[in-house]
């Protein structure tokens, strides 16, 4: 369990983390979200004792990280943003070094090294030089290092950044697996990632905690209006005419496509999306205009995220993530 109370970190005149307080309970996966520069890494560095705080407390299972650092650090495994690896060593040598620094010796050390290499799936590369490994394997060696000493809490700073899609999926699976026996806190600026694997999501922006809840609740509480996307063979005029006769539509966007079809994006405040899509279907059918595609999309966490971070005065300038596309599509009809 981690308690963070009124944590503040100031760099010169720049406030990186401002009066942050939250509690992390054992046995769950926590996603730490925020735009770049929101203070995620700073918070994690403070939690793991790599950085001092300007004020506030961090307690790991009751041990203050500033006052009893040795005891507190024993309970944490940390993977910083850039995996801290010695490129000239092999993963095995590296793990042995970290294990010894964590106070493991002899048979216990060898046993733990075997178990973490198996967990991180790096047995095949354990005798190659770290500098020759791919980024995905380096990340895994970094995770293996964090697992040594069997800490209760595992903190991973942006573990999937810079990996290819397959590696990202593998690392996510690994995080899920770790969540079964450890408390995992990982930071990310990719929302779908957190949405998929976290039990709880913390969103911070400009060093402040703006939301802390489970993914479903966050979606529910923040956004009501939803979206329906249509593709039809009707012309723009016909489409606007048809849509005029249907209530429950808040906003309409017509997007003519190159192949002569018309894309329409509707925003609605109605709770019953199915009823609305039925009305749409029959309205178009009545005019002998086929609906070629219709998809429903509920408010995604991404919108929650944007709203929250914009609310606190900062535009989240996230590059479009390719994997958002797939998950956005709701149940197509």
């Amino acid at each position: 369990m981690i308690e963070i109370e009124h944590l503040t970190k100031v760099y010169g005149t720049h406030v990186a983390v401002s009066d942050l307080s939250f509690r992390v309970e054992s046995g769950q996966i926590y996603g730490f979200l925020g735009p770049n520069g929101a203070g995620k890494s700073t918070t994690m560095n403070i939690m793991t004792g790599c950085l001092s705080a300007t004020s506030g407390h961090v307690r790991i299972d009751g041990y203050d990280i500033f006052e009893e650092p040795e005891k507190a650090k024993k309970l944490i495994g940390y993977l910083p943003e850039q995996p801290p690896l010695y490129p000239n060593e092999t993963p095995l040598e590296y793990l042995r070094f970290v294990g010894e620094a964590k106070g493991l010796r002899g048979e216990e050390l060898e046993r733990q090294i075997r178990s973490v290499t198996a967990q991180a799936k790096i047995e095949t590369v354990q005798n190659r030089r770290i500098s020759d490994l791919s980024k995905g394997f380096k990340q895994r060696v970094g995770i293996a290092q964090a697992l040594l000493g069997n800490p209760n809490i595992i903190i991973l700073d942006e573990p999937t950044v810079g990996l290819d899609p397959i590696q990202i999926i593998e690392i996510r699976a690994l995080i899920k697996e770790l969540g079964e026996h450890h408390t995992v806190i990982f930071s990310s600026h990719i929302l779908s990632e957190a949405q998929n694997i976290c039990d709880q999501i913390l969103i911070i922006s400009k060093g402040r905690l703006v939301a802390f809840d489970c993914p479903d609740n966050l979606e529910k509480q923040m956004l009501r209006s939803s979206e329906i996307t249509l593709t039809t063979e009707a012309s723009q005029e016909e489409a606007s005419q048809i849509l005029c006769g249907i209530d429950g539509i808040v906003d309409t966007q017509l997007m003519p496509r190159e192949d002569g079809l018309l894309g329409i994006r509707l925003e609605t405040d109605s709770d019953d999306l199915t009823a609305l899509s039925r009305r749409l279907f029959f309205a178009f059918a009545a005019q002998h205009r086929a609906l070629l595609e219709m998809s429903l999309k509920k408010a995604s966490l991404e919108e929650v995220f944007l709203e929250l971070t914009e609310e606190s005065g900062e535009l989240a300038q996230e590059p479009a993530q390719p994997q958002h596309g797939e998950e956005r599509q709701g149940d197509s009809q």
Binding site: N45, P69, E70, K71, K73, Q82, P84, L85, Y86, K102
Partner: protein, 259 residues
């Protein structure tokens, strides 16, 4: 080292092994920076220092671990060299006591340079820079005495030199802490202190600079061992230099958490 031994003991047929150390002490300019330049600077560059900070070990343990590792590397050739006097003694009279006394002092002097090197490495994340500064410092140790002898030894001359030094200290403080007020403060306090001292006892400053550099130079103090005197004050001085610089290195690492 072996080369120096050949030159000194075999070619010139001196039977004093301790002269070898006097000749070969310049190798510190090369070996100390090579050994120390990457110790902490490279950790910082590779960001592996984050690992060290997050491990359940103290900063003191980190610094001591690194320092002991360096000492072992430095001790291995010295162990081999310590057989030389024995070998030479088979062929003639060798003053074994002074020889081994010098070896011990030589080891401690090198250890003091290594501690300095570690501290300098902890100040930067650039290996080259760390090596450069370390070389400059060691060379300064070699030549400070002869350099200071060139400065005027009159009261007024050495007063001026000390003023210049006070300003240099201020500049160094400014560079290290990036704090103008502190730098000016240190300089002004030093300048005032010198002026007051000068006012109280003006004879104090005559020939003070050469005397000071002689006391502070690690190498100058080593000469007494070469001359066959086992000088305990020097041993204590070396040990305190080691402790001082290791302490500074720990502080420098600790400070990293507060920036």
């Amino acid at each position: 080292m072996g080369f120096a031994a050949v030159l000194c003991n075999i070619q010139a047929a001196f039977s004093n092994f301790e002269f070898v150390f006097y000749f070969s002490s310049l190798i510190f300019v090369i070996i100390v920076p090579i050994l120390t330049m990457r110790t902490i600077a490279e950790e910082r560059k590779q960001k592996t220092d984050q690992l060290l900070y997050s491990l359940p070990i103290t900063t003191t343990q980190i610094v001591l671990g690194k320092y002991l590792a360096l000492l072992v590397v430095y001790l291995i050739p010295l162990c081999i060299i310590s057989f030389y006097p024995l070998i030479f003694s088979l062929f003639g009279d060798v003053y074994l006591l002074t020889s081994y006394g010098s070896i011990a002092a030589f080891f401690l002097m090198g250890a003091a340079f290594l501690a300095m090197g570690i501290f300098i490495s902890s100040l930067t994340d650039n290996q080259g820079f760390a090596a450069g500064i370390t070389i400059a410092l060691i060379l300064f140790n070699y030549y400070s005495v002869s350099l200071s002898e060139y400065t005027s030894s009159t009261m007024f001359g050495s007063l001026l030199t000390f003023y210049a030094l006070a300003i240099v200290v201020g500049v160094v403080v400014r560079v290290l802490t990036k704090n103008d007020a502190l730098a000016y403060g240190v300089s002004i306090v030093l300048l005032l202190g010198i002026a007051i001292l000068c006012f109280v006892d003006s004879s104090l400053f005559e020939g003070l600079l050469p005397a000071m550099t002689e006391t502070l130079s690690l190498l100058e103090r080593f000469n007494s061992f070469v001359n066959g005197v086992f000088d305990m004050t020097t041993i204590v001085y070396y040990l305190s230099v080691i402790v001082f610089f290791l302490f500074l290195s720990v502080q420098s690492l600790e400070k990293r958490r507060y920036n």
